[in-house]
């Protein structure tokens, strides 16, 4: 079967098996390793991608069912080779420990901020409750998001 989708702005058509997930297509077929594999049941959030701008678990989407939709991975956040301002905030505030949850944290945060421009700390915590950080580095992650929201970082 053919999976049709747009990966970080680039249209793709790839031959897939019916039972192949988007996560398997990205990592195993296309070598897109900025999407991580965790629980494989949609709970941990490390395989988060944006599907038409909303967070989705790549492990719970069949590649064959993409139907031309836009898929954004963390690689898609780069601006002319620079880190996205939210990524810069993560670096500055020490929000990255082992880094495994980071792509999912970034994508979930940006999708949330699209719809909530000025969330308070509690709202940020609730927005990220579906993304697990097993280093338990939540405090610094929320610090980084708060700093980004406060506007110390250029928003685009």
């Amino acid at each position: 079967m053919i999976a049709r989708f747009v990966l970080n702005g680039r249209p793709r058509e790839i031959d897939v098996r019916p039972e192949q997930t988007l996560l398997e297509l990205l990592r195993d077929t296309l070598g897109v390793f900025d999407v991580k594999e965790g629980c494989d049941e949609g709970v941990c959030g490390v395989c988060t991608v944006l599907l038409e701008g909303r967070p989705a678990s790549a492990c719970l989407v069949l590649a064959a069912a993409l139907r031309g939709r836009a898929v954004t991975t963390v690689r898609g956040l780069e601006r002319n080779g620079d880190l996205h301002p939210l990524q810069q905030a993560f670096v500055k505030y020490g929000a990255v420990q082992c880094g495994f949850c980071t792509p999912g944290m970034l994508l979930t945060t940006l999708a949330f901020l699209e719809r909530h421009r000025h969330p308070d700390r509690e709202a940020i915590r609730a927005a990220l409750e579906g993304n697990l950080c097993r280093c338990t580095g939540y405090t610094k992650i929320v610090d980084a998001v708060e700093a980004y929201v406060r506007g110390g970082y250029a928003r685009d």
Partner: protein
């Protein structure tokens, strides 16, 4: 993880989908949002020969009129959460939908999928039972309507036949009702240990004119607390009356134990959450 191989079909017309379900029967599984089905395929708890992806079907509308709203089976949880039309007239839907799974589940998960999957602790089946929703079920040969309260027949089991598809959900208007959804889960995003949905309408004198109470996680399907409702109707919704109603609801239950919590704990929790839900619903009904 590797799923057992299956054939994948994505019909674009409802009749086509119903024809496929008639042809393949129990060998087919319907794929809506996939947030329960794909994990079941991963774990090989489901091993369909054919997966019928219904996401291309025109079952996505939210149609509001005076008396009710008709929700297509493919309306997604995030739409229930964010739709302004629904927020004004059916705010309990947003409050329930916000508690479903995590944000990624709510991106793709569908109302029809949640109802058809029928997890006994899921929020939306309980909300639809409280709201007395009517479900439209279609097969290649007929269409029928079933009350939400009759739709759930056991754990992960419903009135749907193997050749049938849930296509729409009609929710009667509850405009002057106060509402509340209360639940406790072990971790954010988990299914609830217990979930309570309460709807309360007061008359001009401030007495309870109508009340709806439904519970999830306490039996093999959503439970409708009729005795507690009857006990409240016509009465002043004082703190004592609400506590008493919660006790009646709790005492009528015999919830199961599992690896995490005992039935006794579940029953106690039901009473506590029921009292809180009633208090919050009454408070909103007074505004």
């Amino acid at each position: 993880m590797l799923m057992y191989p299956f054939e994948y079909v994505a019909p674009t017309r409802v009749e086509e989908a119903l024809g496929l379900l008639r042809e393949h029967g129990d060998d087919a599984k319907v794929l809506a949002g996939g947030q329960s089905l794909i994990p079941m395929l991963h774990y090989r708890l489901a091993r369909p020969r054919v997966v019928v992806d219904i996401n291309a079907l025109p079952l996505t509308d939210i149609a509001v009129d005076d008396g009710h709203v008709r929700l297509g089976a493919l309306v997604r949880h995030h739409q229930l959460e964010e739709s302004e039309t629904l927020a004004r007239r059916y705010p309990v839907l947003a409050e329930a939908a916000r508690l479903v799974g995590n944000v990624r589940v709510r991106t793709l998960g569908t109302l029809g999928g949640s109802l058809a999957h029928a997890d006994p602790a899921a929020e939306l089946p309980v909300a639809m039972s409280a709201l007395d929703a009517r479900l439209t079920i279609a097969s290649a040969s007929e269409q029928r309507r079933v009350a939400a309260r009759d739709f759930f027949t056991g754990p992960l089991t419903t009135a749907l036949g193997p050749d049938e598809l849930l296509t729409a959900i009609d929710v009667p208007a509850t405009v002057d009702y106060g509402w509340a959804v209360e639940e406790l889960s072990r971790r954010a995003g988990d299914f609830a240990i217990v979930v309570v949905v309460a709807l309360v309408r007061l008359d001009r004198g401030g007495r309870v004119d109508d009340v709806r109470l439904a519970f999830g996680g306490v039996a093999d399907r959503p439970v409708h607390a009729r005795a507690a409702e009857d006990g409240l109707r016509g009465h002043e919704p004082s703190a004592d009356a609400l506590t008493h109603a919660a006790q009646i609801a709790r005492d009528a239950l015999d919830p199961p134990s599992d690896a995490f919590v005992s039935g006794a704990y579940r029953r106690h929790l039901t009473g506590v959450l029921c009292r809180r839900a009633l208090a919050r619903a009454v408070d909103r009904a007074r505004r």
